[in-house]
């Protein structure tokens, strides 16, 4: 059953329940061919189960899954033609690097000469040429990761699934591999469905991110959009540091606990109260004695964290709320010390009103 017009991965109201416990609830999404799509969420949010259903290791309780225009809801994993990188790499200990990378080809009875050629290509792409005869235990974590990657792409699948592939690597190596995976996926024009709980990784690599929360997609969109325009406090907090200030509508204006007045982008007049969201890096320290205006608050520095390129201030507002302000460590920066009174300000365009 081939549908016209959609190559890629499509999920239609997919749910998964284990007994009374529903781990994935009515997820619908469409990942076009060539997109780098990330499922991001805390553990238990259903992202791995969703990936497992796309892979075919888990059957959905409800809904349908379409891969490359074909209904694959009940197809066994081997019939789905996907490339996969597993969380722990799942490198076969009884096979050397060549045997591991060749595995998806040999089980499909690809002729020997072609296996050799394609394995060589895949190994060149992940920069492992020359290590064909090594066994997994003779490889570093990064090299094992590359073997897993080469094995996922050697069959030239249109769709590759990756389950927290960089989880076991140290920070430096992680960044390198992020760039490399992204680069390879772009070069081969593959659709990638990527699962991670690391928001930085998701923001760096993805064309689009679905943030999952308790089995549902809380929000879906390009990295910058979900980061700067979160639709809920959960998404706002999960994607990075976020200021969320209580606000209530009085006389048609949003006001904080004190006298502060807030203006936000795309106000929602229907909300009588909520939280004003603004990222710490959009908040600036006011020069001494600025005139009171909208989106300005006064407070006291509680803690100054010098992070190198950025100075992060924790500022206590008179009402007890704490705001974060990330100031760039530009030329001539004077650090504010704990106890100092400061003013904070931000632009209405960078602020949103969220429910809750």
């Amino acid at each position: 059953m081939r549908e016209e017009g959609f190559a890629g991965v499509r999920l239609e109201r997919v749910s998964k329940a284990y007994g009374p416990e529903t781990v994935v609830r009515e997820i619908s999404l469409a990942i076009p061919q060539g997109e780098f799509f990330t499922l991001l969420g805390p553990s238990g949010s259903g992202k791995t189960t969703t990936l497992s259903m796309i892979a075919g290791f888990t059957l959905p309780s409800q809904g349908s899954i379409h891969i490359d225009g074909r209904d694959a809801t009940r197809a066994p994993p081997r019939a789905r033609g996907l490339g996969m990188v597993f969380q722990n790499y799942a490198i076969f200990p009884h096979l050397d690097v060549f045997g591991n990378v060749a595995f998806p080809l040999t089980v499909r009875k690809v002729p020997k000469a072609e296996v050799a050629r394609r394995v060589a290509e895949a190994l060149a792409m992940v920069k492992l040429t020359g290590l064909e005869k090594r066994f997994a235990r003779q490889l570093s974590g990064g090299q094992q990761q590359r073997v897993a990657l080469a094995r996922a792409i050697v069959g030239q699948p249109r769709v590759v699934l990756m389950d927290e592939p960089l989880g076991a690597l140290d920070k430096n190596l992680r960044y390198h591999m992020q760039v490399e995976i992204k680069e390879i996926s772009r070069r081969l024009g593959m659709t990638v469905v990527y699962v991670t709980h690391d928001q930085e990784e998701a923001l760096t690599m993805s064309d689009r991110i679905a943030i999952m929360d308790r089995g549902r997609i809380a929000q879906m969109g390009p990295p910058r959009e979900v980061y700067e325009r979160p639709e809920s406090a959960f998404v706002a907090k999960f994607l990075g540091e976020a200021n969320l200030i209580r606000a209530r509508r009085r006389d048609g204006a949003l006001r904080g606990a004190g006298a502060a007045r807030f203006e936000v982008a795309a106000d929602r007049p229907g909300l009588a109260e909520g939280q004003v969201f603004v990222r710490p890096e959009k908040v600036r320290l006011l020069p001494e004695g600025a005139a009171p205006a909208a989106n300005q608050v006064a407070g006291t520095v509680r803690h100054t964290a010098f992070l190198g390129n950025v100075v992060r201030y924790e500022v206590t507002l008179p009402e007890g709320e704490v705001m974060l302000c990330d100031a760039t460590n530009a030329s001539g920066t004077v650090l504010r010390q704990p106890g100092e009174p400061v003013g904070l300000a931000w632009n209405a365009a960078d602020a949103l009103l969220l429910e809750g």
């Binding site: 892979a55 075919g56 290791f57 066994p76 994993p77 081997r78 033609g81 996907l82 996969m84 597993f86 722990n88 799942a90 490198i91 076969f92 200990p93 009884h94 595995f103 998806p104 040999t106 089980v107 499909r108 066994f135 997994a136 235990r137 003779q138 094995r151 069959g155």
Partner: protein
């Protein structure tokens, strides 16, 4: 470092002492004393040539190896699927299968052998069922022949294979099997290309344990076998009990021991090599 070295030997020492005291000393003493009866070294050499040239002894050596090999193959054929089921089973099913495997393991060989004789005899359970169902006209000879020996020994030795294989199978990461499946392998390919190679060291270890134990078997072949099923251990016992011929018994012991040690050496060599190739 020296302390760790010392600690290692301190841990091994009791076992070594026990082995020396209860195995090496008596067997060495037995062989030395028995051969001393012959007098000179040239006498020993002549007797050894006679032993190796004797048709009865050569027959027993062949019998012993043939029976041990057949039993090992039977135990493997039954034990591999059984161990697989055990490694996949959970809860009550797991406990039941495990109990069925382990309880006989702790039961005396004599008891188990007699139990089989009740089942296999001419008026035994199997023959009654076969005759009752009309599947056979006269009772099948399942006892006092090679068939009986093989059945009895297979049963007695099965737990050794199952427990060894179970350990090997339990150590296989199920995610590897899932990964293979995801890469396009059907169930048979997953088994042949991943599961079997990853459990092969268990097969060699189990087969070797069973084969070596089978080489020295005495009670089961003595009770369940016929005149043509004489094994080495039985012959050794006969030499001592009936003929009082201690030197011949000692020489046959040496032959049996040599076969065992040779096999063990092969295994140790083989095991070492697989260790090197595997990531673990």
């Amino acid at each position: 470092m020296p302390l760790r070295h010392f600690a290692k030997w301190a841990l091994i020492a009791p076992a070594l002492a026990l082995l020396l005291l209860l195995f090496i000393t008596p067997i060495g003493w037995f062989i030395a004393e028995s051969l001393a009866e012959l007098g000179s070294a040239s006498e020993v050499w002549l007797e050894a040539k006679a032993v190796l040239g004797s048709r009865a002894i050569l027959g027993a050596i062949l019998n012993t190896n043939g029976i041990a090999l057949t039993v090992t193959l039977m135990v493997l054929a039954i034990g591999y699927p059984l161990s697989y089921a055990l490694s996949r089973a959970r809860g009550l099913a797991f406990s039941l299968v495990l109990i069925c495997v382990v309880i006989p393991y702790f039961t005396s060989v004599i008891v188990r052998t007699y139990a089989w004789m009740v089942i296999l005899g001419r008026n035994g359970l199997i023959n009654q069922v076969l005759l009752g169902l009309g599947l056979a006209r006269e009772p099948a000879d399942l006892l006092y022949n090679r068939t009986g020996v093989i059945i009895g020994m297979t049963y007695v030795l099965l737990p050794y294979m199952v427990l060894t294989l179970y350990a090997a199978m339990k150590a296989v990461d199920p995610r590897l099997l899932q990964a293979a499946e995801g890469m396009g392998a059907g169930p048979l390919t997953v088994f042949a290309k991943v599961f079997l190679p990853l459990t092969l060291h268990g097969v060699t270890a189990g087969a070797l344990i069973v084969f070596i134990l089978a080489l020295g078997f005495f009670i089961t072949p003595a009770l369940m076998g016929g005149p043509g099923d004489v094994m080495m251990a039985m012959l050794i016992e006969r030499e001592i009990e009936l003929s009082q011929n201690w030197p011949v018994a000692a020489l046959m012991t040496i032959v049996l021991l040599a076969i065992t040690l040779l096999l063990y050496a092969v295994y140790a060599r083989f095991a070492d090599r697989t260790e090197e190739g595997f990531a673990r």
